[in-house]
């Protein structure tokens, strides 16, 4: 039996959280170090898995599978493939950075880091679970710490943090409620097809693709609503800007960086694969919603004066691209979708961590109150501008190639409609540059002369995420080869079903 690397990755942050329970609550340094070590172990191991994964072989690797609830066909099934592996890596990159982005937390740090670690574990779990039950279980684990963290450590701006937390949580729970209905219906229908209950993704995919077209359509609609509200699909997006604005930095990072991606990931790995006919039926609608989201949220971001709202709306806009890409249902589009989730995760996390530092230092996020920060805090400005440039899809940074592939596929499949979505890049450039220019450039303000630039461990998010940003941009095949190895077989399955069931 080989080294159970996935469980270790999953449990390392949890173990750190457990250790933290016994750490005295005043030992701030120790608390943070323990949290950092826990996430570092996960990150290092997920790098090991990422580069140890055999792409030519493909499929599920590093499999751990144990029976759990036999009556429901639930197995404790952890594995990675070309789609979940980038997401796992992303989670750990952001998790590790998030620890350092919240290094200066002063109130109740022990509770904060315990919750943060639980959150990271939950998110990781969703990405490496290949059993639908486990997937949903981990997903629900995620929601609760977020609520607590927003309420206790959040900040009230346009809306109170309580409102933000409530909106976030209830929205996600309603979404997952619909999702749950869909999943249960799918599961009960699958039993008669498979002959035995089985909750694993692969089994459900076999069963689901044999369902009648009608069943597939309404089931997919339920799943689409569930995952869609998670990925902030227009018009179910309004939790996202408010939630991010209210949340503490680390939560914003993880939420925008990875949690949101559970929606896209689930959409691809669960909904599309299991219900290809349904996906095919709803694809045009998804595309329309995605395009609407891109344009609408980009304009929304343009009107914002609070930095976090800008990024909040921008993430809605970027997730619109993912929706379009999924709706294309071809190899290029699916590749682009997954890659864009990865790219946006890195970028959004960097953005939020830099905004977090700005807020920590200036005590404001209101753009008109700032200006010229590049002179007082140059490193912060570098991080901010890197994130901003990645956000507007600058080539050479990680988000360009994903967007390009999405555009290729969208333009191919939806033609003129896609043009509206692609035009989003102009508006994106406008709001991102405007926010950057008004925050960082212009005449320096004397009231910020005393500010210290980020230094020491505060640089970790910038270094880690910035490196990924640049390396992924210069060598996109590092990311795309991996994703491609997962997407190709997946797409083959879908197109098989669609060809067989073309007349359904």
């Amino acid at each position: 039996m080989s080294f159970p690397v996935l469980p270790v990755i999953l449990l390392a942050p949890l173990a750190a959280a457990l250790v933290l329970v016994f750490v005295p609550k005043d030992e701030h340094k120790l608390i943070k170090s323990v949290a950092a070590i826990g996430t570092f172990v996960s990150m290092a191991l997920s790098f090991y898995v990422y580069f140890g994964y055999d792409q030519t072989l493909g499929g599920l690797q590093y499999v751990i599978r144990h029976d759990w609830i036999q009556d429901l066909g639930v197995t404790f099934f952890l594995a990675v493939d070309g789609i979940s592996l980038p997401m796992l890596l992303l989670t750990n990159l952001i998790g590790f950075s998030a620890i350092f982005a919240s290094w200066n937390i002063g109130t109740r740090p022990r509770e904060f880091f315990i919750l943060l670690l639980v959150l990271i574990t939950g998110v990781m779990g969703t990405f490496i679970a290949h059993d639908l039950f486990i997937f949903l279980l981990f997903y629900e684990v995620v929601v609760i710490p977020i609520y607590i963290m927003v309420v206790i450590w959040g900040s009230s701006k346009r809306v109170t943090k309580e409102y933000a937390a409530m909106k976030l949580t209830i929205y996600l729970l309603i979404g997952s409620g619909f999702l749950l209905v869909g999943v249960i219906a799918l599961f009960t229908k699958s039993i008669s097809i498979l002959g035995a209950p089985d909750m694993s993704f692969s089994a459900l995919a076999i069963a689901g693709s044999q369902l009648s077209a009608f069943d597939q359509k309404w089931l997919f609609a339920l799943l689409l609503f569930g995952f869609g509200s998670l990925i902030s699909m227009w018009p179910f997006h309004s939790w996202s800007p408010d939630g991010y604005a209210g949340a503490p930095t680390a939560v914003s990072m993880i939420h925008a960086g990875v949690l949101k991606k559970i929606g896209g990931y689930g959409l691809i790995k669960v909904a599309v694969v299991t219900l290809p006919v349904g996906a095919h039926f709803w694809a045009p609608w998804m595309a329309v919603l995605g395009i609407a989201g891109v344009a609408y949220a980009a304009f929304g971001a343009l009107a914002q004066k609070d930095l976090k709202y800008v990024v909040g709306y921008s993430s809605v806009s970027h997730m619109g691209y993912v929706m379009i890409a999924v709706a294309c249902l071809d190899v290029i589009g699916l590749n682009g979708a997954v890659a864009n989730m990865f790219a946006h995760g890195v970028m959004a996390a960097l953005f939020f961590s830099m905004i977090g530092f700005i807020y920590e230092k200036t005590h404001t996020r209101w753009i008109p109150d700032m200006g010229g920060l590049a002179h007082q805090t140059p490193k912060l400005a570098v991080g901010f501008m890197m994130a901003a440039m990645a956000s507007l899809g600058l080539p050479g940074l990680i988000s360009f190639m994903p967007e390009f592939t999405i555009f290729v596929s969208a333009f191919d499949n939806y033609g003129g409609l896609a043009v509206i979505g692609i035009a989003g890049i102009i508006i994106t450039a406008l709001y991102v540059l405007r926010a950057g220019a008004n925050t960082l450039f212009g005449p320096p303000r004397t009231e910020y002369d005393h500010l210290e630039d980020i230094k020491g461990v505060e640089l970790v998010p910038l270094v880690v995420l910035g490196t990924v940003l640049v390396v992924g941009g210069l060598l996109p095949s590092l990311l795309f080869d991996m994703i491609n190895s997962g997407v190709v077989p997946l797409h083959a399955e879908i197109s098989n079903v669609l060809q067989l069931g073309g007349n359904l």
Partner: protein, 645 residues
């Protein structure tokens, strides 16, 4: 031996400045002199390799027919055997790119050298050099690209660097806004270019330039004519902004907010010529679509004239030069539009030298006058700054088109091909533009360098690091045109599209008339601005045609129109969307929440909190279940009770 090495390692040329960038950013930043040394050294080495590579290409005639291409896989999507999308990055060397490679690296080297003196003492000295290196690296990458997407990437990186450099004095609001304007304007156009690229990759399945040109040539087999036109026009939108063509030229004059060497770099060697180069590279596509060719030509000619009419009334020295760049770029586009890669590239080549020279000269002037930019407040500088002034005059002669300076030959070539192509209206526009060019450029020279000295100015000659580039570039401005004289046109043998079409026949008429036009322009400027000491006639003219003067002086109010559009339409709709979001979308969400809350409040009345009340209800429930169990039978009951029993 070394030439072979340079040919097959041409990627070193962009890589060296890129390395310089990295070294400066991560290591050398605290030591300005070291940074400058690394930057200039990297650039000079790159220039050395570029020269070798260019020599290799020009001495070997096989590369004019079949470009030297080597590429590596960058990205593959789909099954390994039959990818759905494959992007290669690589090097394509043919005379066009070799010429560009040499030109860009050569001019960039001297501009960097110049910057050592110009930027002395600036707190951002090292950072400035790192940006310059990155800028040059991006441009060189663009030049050697063998793939359209690679070119687009470099294209955008060039845009990024221009953003960083224009906004270099970021504490100035004007610089900040100019940088933003440059980026966003180019972004708007890149949207078109991106759509064009997407269309090309979808239609033809490849973005490799060589393959693409082969497939485009046989396009009728698998695509329609309309698609082709659309693609060509979309691709052309990108260069419209990058090369400052009407109506997206607005960013270019503002780009002078950056330090002067940056302006020189942008205007002469890197940023703006990228658009022309792209059109040149994609000429195989445009060539198939006459409509697109006409569009390019008309845009070019119109821009040339349009910018020249603005330039005649401007007062700031760099702004005049900027509009002259816009105008000259129009010439290049015109040349490409009438189908002559030779003429377009030739003008780009000569223009790079004299425009870099003039911008650096302007920088020298500004350096001496402590950034006083209005030409009306200068005068008589020739006595205190002889090197700057005389080199500037050479630049002025070159751009005006006085033989045998460089500008004459290239401009003449353009006029000839336009005339030969039968585009008489365009020829007239171009010729008139040539007249205006000579006029406004010499207006600048007469006002700034001749006439009376202004007592409040205390100019002085610039240090040698600034003068050497001026002299070298002035030498270039005098001589580089000789490559393409009608008598011995080496240029046309190297760089052409389709057939080498130099007839050998010398168009004396066009040549003489363009020289006469240039002289006339200079003479007019002389009478109005030098001979007439009090400038009475000029003031009278401006007074008499006040509305025209204002129109020209205010750049036809195009900036104001964009500003209005941006603030009213874009920001307005953004506000609208946002209000819709918080009141309608969120309104529905909050409304649902409110509904839940209200119904909760309603139902709350039922919740008395009294134990006995609950017990009563509970017991009713027990009774109901008991009755159900007995009368309905256990199986039905269990169904009704939801499987509880």
């Amino acid at each position: 031996m070394l030439v072979e090495f340079a040919l097959h390692h041409a990627w070193l040329v962009p890589l060296l400045p890129a390395l310089a960038f990295l070294i400066i950013v991560f290591l050398a930043r605290p030591w300005p002199k070291l940074s400058a040394f690394i930057s200039v050294g990297g650039m000079a080495t790159a220039c050395f390799f570029a020269t070798l590579a260019a020599y290799g290409v020009f001495t070997n005639h096989q590369y004019t027919e079949h470009p030297l291409v080597y590429a590596a896989r960058w990205l593959t999507l789909g099954l390994p055997g039959m990818p759905e999308l494959q992007i290669n990055v690589g090097v394509q060397l043919d005379p066009t790119s070799a010429m560009m490679l040499f030109m860009v690296s050569f001019i960039a080297t001297f501009i960097q050298l110049y910057s050592v003196g110009y930027m002395k003492g600036d707190p951002g000295f090292s950072v400035f050099f790192s940006y310059l290196s990155l800028f040059a690296a991006s441009m060189l990458l663009l030049v050697i690209s063998s793939n359209l997407l690679q070119m687009f990437i470099a294209w955008e990186l060039v845009g990024l660097c221009s953003y960083l450099l224009i906004g270099f004095y970021s504490h100035k609001i004007s610089a900040r806004e100019a940088a933003k304007k440059a980026f966003v304007t180019c972004r708007v156009a890149d949207f078109g270019l991106l759509l064009g690229i997407l269309g090309l990759v979808i239609t033809f399945g490849t973005l490799d330039l060589v393959e693409l040109s082969e497939r485009v040539a046989n396009f009728r087999e698998y695509t329609t004519f309309g698609t082709m036109t659309l693609l060509a026009i979309l691709v052309f939108i990108g260069p419209i902004a990058k090369s400052g063509q009407f109506p997206l030229h607005v960013w270019l004059p503002d780009a002078m907010e950056g330090p002067t060497p940056v302006s020189a770099l942008i205007h002469a060697a890197t940023m703006v010529v990228a658009g022309v180069y792209l059109v040149g590279r994609m000429l195989f596509l445009f060539h198939e679509v006459p409509v697109a060719m006409d569009l390019v030509a008309i845009t070019g000619a119109f821009t040339a004239l349009f910018a020249a009419t603005i330039a005649i009334t401007q007062r700031e020295i760099k702004r005049i030069l900027a509009y002259s760049t816009v105008s000259q770029l129009g010439y290049m586009m015109l040349a490409l539009g009438v189908g002559s890669l030779t003429a377009g590239m030739f003008h780009m080549w000569t223009h790079a030298f004299f425009k870099a020279l003039m911008f650096l000269g302007a920088g020298s002037v500004l350096h001496a006058l402590h950034h006083k930019a209005d030409v009306w407040e200068m005068g008589g500088l020739v006595k205190k700054m002889p090197i700057t002034s005389w080199t500037f005059v050479i630049g002025g002669l070159a751009i005006a088109g006085i033989p045998p300076f460089a500008g004459f030959w290239s401009k003449d070539e353009i006029l000839v091909v336009t005339l030969n192509g039968g585009h008489y209206i365009l020829y007239a526009m171009a010729a008139f533009t040539a007249f205006l060019t000579a006029f406004y450029m010499w207006r600048l020279i007469f006002l700034a360098f001749y006439g009376e000295e202004k007592p409040e100015n205390h100019p002085h000659e610039s240090p040698w690091t600034m003068c050497v580039p001026l002299i070298v570039l002035a030498a270039g401005a005098m001589t580089v045109g000789l490559l393409g004289t009608p008598w011995n046109n080496i240029w046309a043998e190297w760089i052409f599209f389709g057939e080498a079409h130099h007839s050998g026949e010398i168009a004396w008429g066009a040549m003489i008339s363009s020289a006469v036009i240039a002289v006339a322009g200079i003479y007019l400027a002389y009478t109005l601005y030098l001979k007439d000491k009090e400038k009475v006639k000029v003031k009278a003219l401006a007074e008499r045609y006040k509305s025209l003067y204002n129109l020209s002086f205010n750049k036809y109010y195009i900036d104001e129109m964009y500003l209005w559009f941006n603030h009213t339409m874009v920001d307005g709709s953004a506000k609208l969307f946002y209000l819709f979001d918080i009141y309608v979308v969120d309104g529905i969400v909050n409304g649902l929440g409110g509904f839940g809350k209200l119904s909760g409040e309603g139902l709350r009345v039922l919740q008395t909190g009294r134990l006995q009340n609950y017990a009563l209800v509970f017991f009713l429930g027990v009774l109901a279940i008991a009755v159900l169990m007995v009368f309905a039978g256990p199986s039905t009951a269990s169904l009704v009770l939801g499987g509880v029993m």
